[in-house]
Symmetry: C2
Subunit: 254 residues, 2 copies
């Protein structure tokens, strides 16, 4: 018996998110099918991040246990032959039997991309959030700077099941403009439910002048979801990378 | 009666190309429906470039005649509300009654994009041609340089209906690398059937060492389709812009 780890990329457009659901097809389901088919065992993968419907990933992480004699690093190619073309394993390897993708410290990097132009571009509609009004990148960055550090992000969280704490640390939040694309890249030790999308929706309001950058500090301090901006739509969001600092090396860098 | 011109962008993924076909939905058909619906007349648009199934466009051009009193520049917004989200009018204006998108000199710019990495990236699969083997951009550029100028491009054309001449002029053919994306941008006074995709397929062979750059000169001189490389797949191709030099100004620049 061995534990195999997968670095999973996907286009979330046609999926109801990661986690198995009764009302539609999910990434987890497709992975379970491909892995079970390849190993000829009934296998269920354990994922690191349960991304929402329509959200993309370049480096989500999953593990599974198998009796298969296929070497860990060969699963990548074998699974890609069985997966639909909107899911691709970027890398696979064998890890110790107790290595868990969630129950340890992680650093996650997300990117949220806006398309800022007068008319939408059909070829980028599935991976960006279209914004008609001119966006002020400098003001977005000023606002983003208030979020860096350890804070109670209760205002930036959709209340769901009880979480022990809404305190998280953001290490970096950078706004990068390339042509008509404006990307927010955020790296932190954990993100609450919908946190990146609510931050994106709030910074979009700063970008178009609806909020001042300073107002984001007030939103943060209010610890109240009702005062933050709306949740930005899923297609602009991509889970870029998950780092495991305890492993003392980066396994996969996109 | 007036003639309205449209600058049309689309994601070609879900279409059987521009031109109306019996076996599937096309861009032309969707435009005819939207224009006819808006103007309450039976209208058929005339397109500049009949792009193939799966090929994208940022700036294709079409015209139609109408008795509608809507000002030319307003059609852009009114049509976008009626079109599916993978087709968007970038600009509209009124032109003279004899302005024709095809029967005059044009300069077209196409881009063909490769994704060069070890494993495909699902979020870019619809807009690039995945290449596993490392691509040599310098050699691609050397090969591309042989194509610049006025030549008989018979080797780079799928034989179809009789064309008067297979001589065309390429003004520029540049290979640009950005991260794992390699784009060929080609600008010329006309392109034969499948010409850009056959050039792309041939340069891909140069890039991976199957052909020398100098061999592209021989292919050109052979005037024989059988000696060139394969036609690269449609999803890497985008019609970027059509210029009308006689108009003495650029109407739409993406």
């Amino acid at each position: 018996m061995k534990r195999v780890r997968l670095f999973v990329s996907y286009d979330g457009t046609n999926y109801c998110g990661w986690q198995i659901q009764s009302n539609g097809i999910t990434i987890e389901e497709e992975l379970n099918k491909a892995v079970s088919d390849l190993c000829r065992e009934e296998i269920a993968v354990i994922g690191a991040s349960r991304t929402d419907s329509g959200v993309h990933a370049l480096g989500n992480v999953a593990v599974f246990d198998t009796n298969s004699r296929i070497p860990g690093e060969k699963f990548c190619f074998a699974l890609n032959q069985r997966l639909p073309d909107d899911i691709r394993i970027q890398k696979s390897d064998e890890v110790s039997a107790d290595w868990h993708p969630r129950y340890q410290d992680t650093i996650k990097t997300y990117e949220y991309c806006f398309l800022n132009r007068r008319i939408p571009d059909p070829t980028r509609r599935l991976y960006t959030y279209f914004m008609y009004y001119p966006m002020d990148v400098e003001k977005m960055q000023q606002a983003a700077d208030y979020l860096v550090g350890e804070h109670d992000f209760k205002s930036f969280c959709t209340p769901r099941t009880q979480v022990a704490s809404t305190v998280r640390e953001i290490y970096d939040c950078s706004i990068i403009k390339e042509g008509d694309i404006i990307c927010m890249r955020v790296r932190g030790n954990g993100f609450l439910y919908n946190m990146v999308r609510i931050i994106a929706g709030t910074l979009a309001r700063v970008a178009t002048g609806l909020y001042t950058p300073e107002h984001v500090k007030e939103i943060l301090e209010a610890r109240d979801r009702n005062v933050a901006g709306p949740k930005a739509p899923p297609q602009g969001l991509t889970l870029i990378e998950i780092e495991y600092p305890q492993d003392k090396k980066i396994y996969f860098s996109y």
